[in-house]
């Protein structure tokens, strides 16, 4: 966070350069990005396009592993090679042209086949925050997947194949505190006001207010008062649509006419807010299961901070919080006089601070029991954790090696594939062309004169794969023809699309902000549609 009072002259060139993104992931997100060390395997168009959107925002360092030489085909689809570079190591050329984008980024290249590295340098990948791989044959991909899974290093597989794009995230476990949900419900606790809130609300009397004060009471007060009235009459807060409609009517009855004849804006806001503000305070089911997992975890010195904080949070919920998460401490803006709004805002803030303090104390106790640790948990970590408690996310991944064993984990695959709008068919096609490649050492349709024969061969591969999954030959020939038409072509606009998406997935993993795909994304540029599958 920016310190208040920082004079403008101190706003560094770096802050100015990154201004538009710092407004999204903050200085702390940027700091994580600048510490990250990314490895790209194969500087194809899809590979360099992915790195481009990581180099521009200022990732710490990149390493390119590539033993290919620049060919005319690269000149045709890859922006990070140039006419003079034909025949030179592709990794070196691409690295040079990528680093030229942003002097803040460091980089190296390794002119070596990834198979060799996997065979001879088992620790090669350990320094990396994230590995991005593209254009790998199935066998190499599976070895790489296994090595990185065992080493607990996130792997992103990116691919563009004709008009089809593919991204696969392989990460054992990914925890997110700042998921930045789009539409948040406010956390007002009107159904269970904390004592300070209750005391303040009860000290206000709408009846005796003069007209100016009455029309400037924040709507949270109006809803509180109306709810009291309601509860006296009906015993419990409004639940369904009908009751909420009656509740809105009750709010309306409390409205006075302003001297100008207009309606009171704060009451109108209150009526609009009934739906979101009177939602019962409860723990979202996703968070509930995180807390349950945290409760059953046995902490060890290597337990990650997220799970220590989650355990403390669970204890808060079951004791101090009486079944609720810590108060979030932020309220929406509402028509009001400054004094009352800020007074109420501070009540929520103070309660949030008090709740977070409880969690912090518990976190410190738990960490003390675990002895000295590599990663310290700070007060601001705990504050952020509590503030985002309602939006915590945990993704449990699956290795690609596991995915490729036996059938995919999608229930009725046949039903999926029979749906003409399902993008799953393209996943099957990508798996099939890989098997084709393992068998024939080239992708179907790669050579102009073999397109027709390859169609027949690919069909065999597709049906064999489906049979392995217990499905009949239900894929239409159209898809097989289209795949052979592509001949594994890496078309630039598809590479650029996938590169952009994949770069942001990497940024999500690096910053632990926003939520990565879980775990396979298919992009279909024919119809400009996409889908995500958890395989």
């Amino acid at each position: 966070m920016e310190k208040p009072g920082t004079p403008s002259s101190e706003q560094s060139d770096k802050a100015k350069k990154y201004d538009r993104q710092l407004r999204l992931w903050g200085d702390h997100g940027q700091a994580s990005l600048e510490c990250a060390n990314i490895c790209l395997i194969n500087a194809s168009a899809t590979g360099t396009e992915t790195l481009k959107s990581l180099v521009l925002p200022g990732v710490g360092a990149i390493t390119i592993v590539d033993d290919a030489k620049v060919t005319p085909k690269d000149i045709g689809n890859n922006f990070f090679v140039d006419g003079e570079s034909i025949g030179r190591p592709r990794g070196e050329v691409a690295l040079h042209l990528l680093l030229e984008l942003n002097p803040d980024v460091r980089g190296t290249f390794v002119d070596q086949a990834v198979d060799e590295i996997l065979d001879n340098q088992p620790d090669f990948f350990s320094p990396f925050t994230c590995v991005i791989a593209t254009c790998l044959p199935e066998s190499t991909l599976l070895s790489l997947s296994k090595v990185l899974w065992d080493a607990n290093i996130p792997l992103l597989v990116v691919r563009s194949y004709g008009m089809i794009g593919y991204i696969r995230v392989q990460i054992e476990e990914h925890t997110v505190i700042e998921s930045h949900p789009d539409n948040e419900m406010p956390d007002l606790r009107l159904d269970r006001p904390f004592p300070a809130l209750q005391k303040y609300m009860d000290s206000l009397d709408l009846e005796t207010m003069d007209s100016k004060e009455h029309s400037h009471v924040p709507y949270v007060v109006i809803l509180y008062k109306t709810l009291q009235q309601w509860n006296q009459r009906y015993g419990a807060p409004p639940k369904n649509y009908r009751e909420k409609k009656d509740f809105i009517q009750l709010v309306k009855e409390g409205m006075r006419e302003k001297e100008s004849g207009e309606a009171e804006e704060n009451f109108e806001e209150a009526m609009k807010a009934v739906n979101t503000s009177l939602m019962p305070t409860r723990i979202p089911s996703g968070v509930e299961s995180i807390l349950n997992e945290a409760a059953s975890n046995t902490l060890t010195p290597s337990t990650r901070p997220f799970w220590i904080m989650a355990k403390a949070l669970h204890e808060f919920v079951t004791s101090e919080g009486r079944g609720a998460l810590p108060v979030r401490g932020t309220i929406p803006d509402m028509t009001a006089d400054s004094e009352k709004y800020i007074k109420i805002q501070n009540l929520y803030r103070e309660q949030a601070a008090q709740d977070a303090d409880w969690v912090l104390r518990r976190v410190l106790e738990l960490s003390q029991q675990l002895g000295p640790r590599k990663v310290m948990i700070t007060e601001s970590d705990v504050k952020a954790f509590c503030k985002n408690a309602h939006a915590l996310r945990v993704l449990k991944g699956k290795s690609i090696a596991e995915e490729y064993k036996g059938s995919i984990n999608l229930g009725d695959i046949g039903a999926h594939l029979e749906n003409p709008e399902s993008e799953l068919v393209w996943y099957v096609m990508l798996r099939a062309v890989d098997q084709f490649h393992s068998e024939f050492r080239a992708y179907p349709g790669y050579f102009q004169d073999q397109v027709e024969t390859d169609i027949v061969r690919l069909k065999v591969c597709v049906n064999r794969l489906l049979a392995d999954w217990g499905c009949g030959p239900i894929i239409k020939d159209d898809f097989i023809h289209e795949m052979c038409r592509y001949g594994a072509a890496e078309v630039h606009s598809i590479a650029a699309y996938i590169g952009g998406c994949a770069a942001h997935e990497a940024i999500k993993i690096i910053t632990a902000q926003y939520v990565p795909i879980h775990n396979t994304h298919i992009y279909n540029a024919i119809t400009a549609t996409s889908a995500t599958f958890t395989l």
Binding site: P7, P72, P181, I342, S493, Y497, E505, I507, A528
Partner: protein
Amino acid sequence: MTAVDWGERWSEVRKLLERPGPFTHPDFEPSPDTLKMLQENIKVLVIGAGGLGCELLKDLALMGFTDLHVIDMDTIDLSNLNRQFLFRKKDIGRPKADVAAEFINQRIQGCRVTPYYNKIQDFDDDFYRGFHLVVCGLDSIVARRWINGMLLSLLCYEDGMLDQSSVIPIIDGGTEGFKGNARVILPGLTSCIECTLDLFPPQVNFPLCTIAHTPRLPEHCIEYVRILLWPKENPFGEDVAIDGDDPQHINWIYEKAQKRGAEYGISGVTYRLTQGVVKRIIPAVASTNAVIAAACASEVFKLATSACTPMNNYCVFNDIDGIYTYTYEHEKKEECMACSQVPQNLEVRLTDKLKDIITMLTESFKFQMKSPGLQAMVDGRTKSLYLHSPASIEEKLRPNLKKTIEELGLADGMEIAVADVTSPTTILFKLKIIE
């Protein structure tokens, strides 16, 4: 530049262009000539050389297009460099269009990007008629509406039938943070920018009384200084307007806003927030621009070659939680002000004042005009009702604002021509008097 035999250079694109497939447009005929046509005959205009524009030029050049033109009226700023990847620190202050064109022409041999350091309004219909496709990477809705109006004005109708050869497709992209959209517009045939005006609700400003009397948010404090304090104190001299790029200006606003915040117990006024509010900054990242531009480039390629059916016709993208896209057909609005060919009715009461009509034209979701000028057709002659410029005319016509429709001598069925910056042509309305 030495001529190199790059026989394989376009092999990836050629697979799409020279092989038949089940998902191509019905008009598609696989042929090596298509690539040649792309390179020799197709002229594409890219509007904007910013976050999307830089990407679009690269994408199109690497899809085989060689005759590219780019218009941008801006110069390069330090804050562009996190995503506008054709620009370097040494280029700051230079026109975006020029630098982008130089970079692409240097990197991609054979590609010829022609830059125009101009406003789109600097060019007339002859200029725009020269392009086969127009791709927009704009951050301004007014500019989008203007170019939409321009390309609609180029349509030729014969006996009410649209001459298809006069249709210049628009491929439009937009981004904001991690969200974006891409769409294909076939002017006269599919929904246009004005058909979907309600997707871009007008900017909401804080009520003045909140800013002046009941601030609650740090933004209210900043707006107080910007709107009320600055013109009162003129800290940098009489008539010195706020320059969002001048750190001294921002700093003055920041310090005063902080002081106001402290008076009311409002925290959270930061330098970054101050700058964001004053300049109305929209957050932007490289990745979203790359994605949306690529989606647009694919559509340009499809429309130019028929190698695949185009998107139908509107796609939204969001990668905050996973990667989400939604593609749907946005329907043409039957009474669209710009593309429907249906005369527009302007419903008024005889007692409405001219200024009420202007307010309606600017504030209603349907019109969202900026500074409309109105002329009436009375007895076959044009009578100016209100014009914003020149100043002498404005002054002369100003009293009309307070006159009613009746006092102005207007009657049911009369035609009113409205001119506004959102359209290159005037829009004809028919007055409809209601009770």
